[in-house]
Structure formats: C-alpha cells, structure tokens
Amino acid sequence: MNRRDFLKKSAMAAGAVSLPYLLPGGTLFAPTGSRIANHVVFCLFAGGVRNLESVHKIDGNLMPNMLTGNESISNDILGGMSNLPSPASTRLQTLGTLFREFRYKQGPTGHYGGHNTILTGRYDETISLAQRPKYPTVFELYRKHSSPEQAALNSWWVSNSLGPYPALNFSDDPEYGAIYGANYVQPGSMIVGMPQDPIQLDDVKLDKVASMRQFMDNNFTSKTTAKDAGITNTAANRKRIEEFLRAEYQNAVNGQYSSFWGLQQNTINNDQVTMFFAEQVIKEFKPELLVVNMQDVDTCHQNFTRYANNIRKADYAVAKLWETIQNTPGMANDTILIVAPEHGRNLQPNTISDQYGRYALDHTSDPTSREIFCLVVGPPSKVKQNQLITQQVGESIDLVPTIARILGFDSEIPGGRLFGRHLGEAFV
C-alpha cells in the first residue's frame, strides 16, 4: 500500500468509527438546554430478567401491566403465582416505545457491573463490588450540567437493598463526586433504624444551632471532604427530608407499608415496598430525576417459579408507580418513565429445581444473559405511542445520554463523557 492509499483508508476508517457517535445519537448536535420533559423516572427492573420470560413471554404474559397480550401463564407454575389485582386497562406498552431487543453488550453480567454501566453510560469491566464508579453517574451529570446546577433534592436513587448499591449515588471522578450525588435511600433499612424521639427544636433554634456549628466548622482546619460526609443537602432541604423520613417511619408503624395497593400482606415483597416508598418520594419532592431499583427477581438463582412470580409483582409495581406519577400534579404529563433490566440470565439452567420442577437460572455472561428490553413511556406529545421495535436496537449505555437529552443537559456535558447515544427512535 502506498502512502496515499494508506492515508485515504485511514481517513475512511476514522470516519466509520466516529460517524456513529456523531449522527444517530444526536448528542453533539442536540439543541442546548431544551428539554423533552421535566422529569425522568427510571425504573431498574433489575436482578436479572431474561427476555424469554419478559418480552418473549415463553411462560405467558408475566407482565400484563406493562406488555400487551393475554398469553396464559404456563400451567406448571400457576400454583406458584400470587393473587394480584387485575391489570390496568391501559398497558404501558401502548403509552410508549418498547425496545424488545435491547442489549447489555459488554462486561460480566453481574448485578453491580450492570447497574454501574446503566447509571454511568460506560461499560467498565474492571469495577469491583461496591467500588464507586470511575465515571460520573447520571445523577452527577444531571446535577452538574443542568443550568442552573440542581440541588440534591431533585435527584433520588432508591434501591431495594444495601449491599454495594449505596456506592452508586456518586463516582470517584475528581471532577464530579459527592457534591453532585443523589439522595440515596434504602427504604427498609432507613425505616427499621430510624433514630427515635429526637429533641424538639423549632426553626429559630435550629438556625441558632446551625450558626454555632458553622462557627465551629469555620474555626476548624477542615479536613472534611464532601466524600467523607456523603452527599450534601442544604439545611432547609435536610429539614424537609428528615420530616419526610419520620413521616414514612410513622406510616410504617401505622401499617401502611404492610398493606398498600390493595395487595395482601403476605404477597408484598421488597421490590413493592421499595416502589411504594418511591411513590412517596414522587409525591413529596417531585424529583426531576428518580432512579428506582428492584432486585427481587434474583431469587431465580434458586427458584425459577418464584422468579416468575416476582416479575409479575415488579410489573404491578411499575404500573402503580406510573399511576402515582399521573396523579401527581407537576409530574403528570411531564414525566418520561424508562424501564429496563441491568442484564438477563443464562439460556441454560443450573441444577437447582423448585417445587414445580423448574430449574433455576444464573447469569454468567452467555449471550442470553445480555438480552434485555427497554420500555420508554411518556405523553403522546413527547414519546411515540404503542411502538414496538423488534430489531436489535439500543444498549445499556444509551440510557444516560437519553436521560440527558430528555432533561436537556446533554449538550452541556463535555465531549468524550457520553459513550452511548440518545434513543431518538422513542421520541416524537
């Protein structure tokens, strides 16, 4: 190859590589600051859900609140299904766009890696369990690059379990970090451990305490970094949050977390409690960015039928969440709901059989465990309605750019920070 040919082919190759980053996502050319909607609720239908059981419905429609179709649940596992209220007449799929063949393309199909990818928009095959993300999370990007910068009260990360998940509310990236993190909350632990019977101080006295504390802090050669103290809310917002948390504690004491949505107490699982709590966050704070994490389907490592049942429960919870959004002034008709698992599960089962004779499923990075779905729901003026995309379109890293585009801060993110693309196919 002569020098001229080499340069020509190199230029073509470079164009082939860079073009997809420029055109399909529209990230670089998106209008500055314009928003598609003022709120995003992203529901991580997590714990590892196989497309076979969800959108391919091989055991019937286990997600009748989200998906259209009335396929019957397989007879052999029917005995393991809880009684749930009838699905709403309007399926969420009809209110938006379903990417049926979404993908988690790279990295081990582990929960934490999957969550990390979906919340940072970057595949990171080296992240360790509970290690803070190396790259900024969607919360940090949102708070830092929105104009004006957003308060922590506007971004929430509600997860159904502790484990490594608290570490996902902000990254170790030195340009971002705790000062741009989200209000992480794990409702169960928060309510169980609520500090009781505080001294009662009115606002005036609290201001005086804050003033004394400020004097002390100013007089201390502070080694406190934001990371030490986690994220930071303003004093006024802390007061609101504390009142909210104490109210939810009282609601729990009064039994509201044992009986809600018309569910029987013995059928309520942790995902549903988490989603119920997320509803209260929506009602109280109307956050612009809320990410809710469900996880109970991961029981599939030991019990397939319970997994199928938990898919149904999660589906019901998503429908109730959407109902709450539509009943909350300020969020109704101005919210985009995104639902996606972090990864799937293996095609081949493991050796553990449940009482219905079904074998359990792990997730060890086989091709099936990379198959997921993504449902984008929103008002007809913003989201294409009743659209089913059956081709393989979209991947996990596209969700951060999509959220950034919806909330209008995509164009403010420095170049090289976004690796996926905006899922423009879903939007009007």
Binding site: G181, A182, V192, G193, P195, D197, L201, V204, V209, N233
Partner: protein, 183 residues
C-alpha cells in the same frame, strides 16, 4: 615546684640515701597533689525532670475521620459515660448506611441521643453559672482540646446575649460539627 624547696645541697652531700628517701616523699607528695587538684573539680548537678507536653489535640492535628461505627459509639460514650450495646449500635448503623446524606443521619442520631434520659448534659443553671467553664468543659470532653481565646470569647458573648441558647443546643452543634467527626 613545691618539691624543689627541699633540694638542700648540704643534705645531698651528707647523706645521699637520706636524699633518696626524701625524694620519694616529694614524689609521693607531688602525685598526691596532682590527684588532689584533679579530684577537686566542682561536681555538676544534673536534675532530671519531664518537659511540659500538651496531651490535648490541636485543631489541626485531627486527620482521621471516624468511621460510622466509631462516630456512633464515641458519641454515645461521650454522652452517657458508658459503651453502647451492640444491638443498639447495629440498629443505628442501619439508617447511616441507608441514606446518602451522612450529615443528616448524624444529626438525627445526635438529636435522639440528647433526648434520652441519662444523657450527660449540664443544666441551664450550670451553664449560666460559669459560661467559660461550660464551654471549656464541652470542648475538652468532645473535641479533646481547650477552646482558644477567640472561641471562648465568642461563645461566652453569644450565651450572654442570647439566653435562649440551651446546653442541649450547644451540645447538638458541637457533636455535629466537622471537628467532632475527626480524631
């Protein structure tokens, strides 16, 4: 030199043996003199004592952040003069891990501690009786140091001007200060 006074020529000629005897004595005397002067140096007095060392920490010396467990356990023992039991500690750790804004949780925990009967909080009368001592005691107790002159002046003046500030409020402030988070 003292010995040469005895070098008498007559005696030398008379009795050489006598001279030899005397010479030995002179030599002995010379040696004794040397020893005497050498040994008569003034004895130096060594007094061993301990230098003054500050055992309290300066503000700038606190470089270690307390862990969540340490924060709760130390705050509890500071306020109740006894260790926290493991079950209570675990319950209180739960919201600490379950919420992103650690400062908020710390404030909630301290507010609860301060309302528990048995919390070692001075009365308003004790505080008003000697504000300087109250502030100093609190700084020593919680921050392991005495307040500097400015801090002392600031709080004495503040308490004098604003009688609505209670010992509980001051304790709440100091226990949730940045400095208390360090050791």
């Amino acid at each position: 030199m003292l010995g040469f006074k005895f070098l008498d020529h007559r005696r030398w000629t008379m009795d050489h043996r006598c001279f030899k005897k005397q010479g030995r004595g002179v030599a002995m005397l010379f040696l004794a003199s040397l020893l005497f002067f050498a040994s008569c140096k003034k004895e130096e007095l060594y007094v061993y004592e301990v230098n003054d060392v500050k055992v309290k920490q300066d503000k700038g010396d606190k470089n270690n952040v307390k862990s969540q467990t340490e924060f709760i356990a130390i705050a509890y023992s500071d306020l109740f003069q006894t260790g926290i039991d493991r079950a209570t500690l675990e319950v209180l750790l739960s919201p600490y891990q379950a919420f992103g804004d650690q400062k908020l949780i710390e404030q909630m925990i301290i507010k609860s501690f301060l309302n528990v009967p048995g919390a070692d909080v001075p009365t308003q009368a004790e505080m008003d009786a000697n504000r300087s001592q109250f502030v100093t005691d609190a700084y020593v107790k919680f921050l392991a140091r005495e307040p500097d002159e400015f801090e002392l002046w600031h709080f004495e003046r503040l308490f004098a001007e604003d009688p609505s500030i209670t010992p509980q409020m001051f304790y709440f402030a100091i226990l949730t200060s940045d400095e208390y988070r360090y050791y």
